[in-house]
Amino acid sequence: MDRDLILALRNVSARYPGAAGDALSGVSLDVRAGDLLAILGPNGSGKTTLVRMALGLLVPATGTAEVLGRPATAWPRRDLARVVGVVSQREENLFPQRVRESVLLGRYPHLSVWGGERAEDHLAVARALERCDVTALADRWIRTLSGGEYQRVRLARALAQEPRVLVLDEPTASLDLRHEMELFELVRDLVDAHGLAAVVVTHHVNLAARFADQVLLLDDGRSAASGPPTDVLTRATVERVFAWPVAIEPFDGRPQMIPLRKPSP
């Protein structure tokens, strides 16, 4: 019983024009339905490049990047948006908009050019708002939301696309403890309860270890290790990749990292 393979990158490399080295070299990853994959790595290790490649915005110099067995760059964007929902690092809010309208944008790949929104579109929006616990915010202006509320609204928009995989690029970058935990709990729930797959790019080693089924640890464009958190997040590997001394302690059956003070000379 093989669960559906949704994202598959094989041995991909990328090089930006004018750059000395490869931004990525020989990285592979598999994401199946029901998987939560965390991508970890220091700044500039290639996390965002890898995600952009999986999302068809970047052509691999070598290797293949496939979504449901078809090269990511060969997908029409509209069709791809019905399979992959993305919460990107940044977005703009130039003109004031209400939460419901903003989540409705997630229905874009399902709507025709001239037709209006159908009952099923409003239903999908209502469902997405409900799942992310933002129904009560539906009539609020986006600009009045807190950081945590806003991220949940953005996740609701990605869910309104009714995708099979969610991709979140540093979704908790400016959130406090509670909102950060709530967001990870929410993503975990969505994966468990609805058979979605999720890819989360994050700097939080411990949250990745707590919530993810698989971890891919990137180091300077290469895969330093990948697999279940217990296998990947060993002291030796984490110290080497992040260039800082750490201790790793098990907690609830998952490795947790404690950064150490630099030993005095």
Binding site: P17, R78, V86, N93, L94, Q97, L105, Y108, V113
Partner: protein, 318 residues
């Protein structure tokens, strides 16, 4: 209700434009008067189409540039059209079509230059992308250059030409005829439909280019389509009426306040609102200093600037 109000406003504006004017026409004679039939009606309708086109073009460009200050003339079109018109005036090109054609050609040249400047990248694997920031800078540069050449021509021309050129630059609908209206009505629907068809992707583009791609929009093609359609719409408007400012900037913002950000409603509302506003402004321009006539751009600026300042204050307050 709000659509009804807008439709009512349009009807009132058109009625006033037909009834009022420097020449007194009795109510009973409205149907028969050649002044009404050959001058006021085509002029009112032309003003409506021009105002609507400018407003739709402005609303689309604000979304494309993701800049609330974008207006149809931001991208150098007024400079190109002005240079064309001034050249036609200085060269004494005759015939009723010389001036609009020269302005149109000038606008097209500016459009092509700015478009080419705005295309960035494409040397390697990916296709060239239209970069809104570069587009903006290119527009300002091309506009400034055309403005300099235009001023040079004006500065060496005779007084009468200078006056004509100056008046043209502030916009006016006095060249209106059924024939101009017909030509415009054959031309305008094409770019207008292209922009209406782009309504939904423009909603998505407001989030930024990368988020729009993730939501399924073909951003590369969208930007080109919207830039070209909005500019072609503006080029036609400027050819028949000169540079009429503020309609394209202000009307979309007024409509955003009432209809929200969804372009499927915003674009049609802007068309009606822009049409009604320009017809009202043109009526005022004809009546205010009768029997002479103010350039309509002066009236739109006189109404527009204070109104816009008020809006700005309200936004920044909240």
């Amino acid at each position: 209700m709000r659509w009804l109000g807008l439709a009512g406003l349009s009807v009132v504006a058109l009625t006033l434009a037909v009834v009022l004017g420097p020449a007194h026409v009795a109510w009973a004679d409205l149907g028969r008067s050649p002044i009404v039939r050959e001058l006021r009606i085509p002029r009112a309708l032309l003003g409506f189409v021009v105002g609507g086109s400018l407003a739709v073009s402005g609303a689309s460009l604000q979304a494309l540039m993701r800049n609330p200050l974008a207006d149809p003339f931001l991208l150098g079109l007024s400079g190109g059209a002005g240079l064309g018109a001034v050249a036609a005036i200085a060269l004494h090109l005759g015939g009723p079509w010389a001036l609009p054609l020269a302005a149109f050609v000038g606008a097209l040249v500016a459009l092509a230059l700015v478009f080419r400047l705005g295309l960035v990248g494409g040397g390697g694997g990916g296709g060239a992308e239209l970069d809104p920031r570069v587009l903006l800078l290119g527009g300002v540069a091309v506009g400034a250059f055309a403005g300099a050449v235009m001023t040079a021509i004006i500065s060496v021309s005779e007084a009468a030409q200078l006056r004509n050129a100056f008046l043209w630059l502030w916009g006016g609908l006095s060249g209106a005829s059924w024939y101009t209206l017909l030509v415009l009505c054959l031309y305008v629907p094409v770019p207008l439909l292209v922009l209406l068809a782009a309504a939904r992707p423009l909603d998505v583009l407001a989030l930024g280019e990368e988020p729009a791609r993730y939501l399924g929009a073909d951003v590369t093609a969208l930007k080109r389509r919207v830039y070209l359609a909005a500019s072609l719409l503006t080029a036609a408007a400027v050819a028949v009426s000169g540079v009429i400012g503020f309609v394209g900037l202000m009307v979309p913002h007024l409509c955003r306040g009432v209809w929200g950000q969804q372009h499927r409603a915003l674009l049609p509302a802007s068309f009606l609102g822009g049409g009604a506003l320009l017809v009202l402004a043109d009526t005022a321009a004809r009546v205010a200093v009768a029997p002479r006539e103010l350039p309509v751009g002066i009236v739109t600026a006189l109404i527009g600037v204070p109104l816009f300042a008020l809006l700005l204050r309200r936004w920044t307050a909240t």
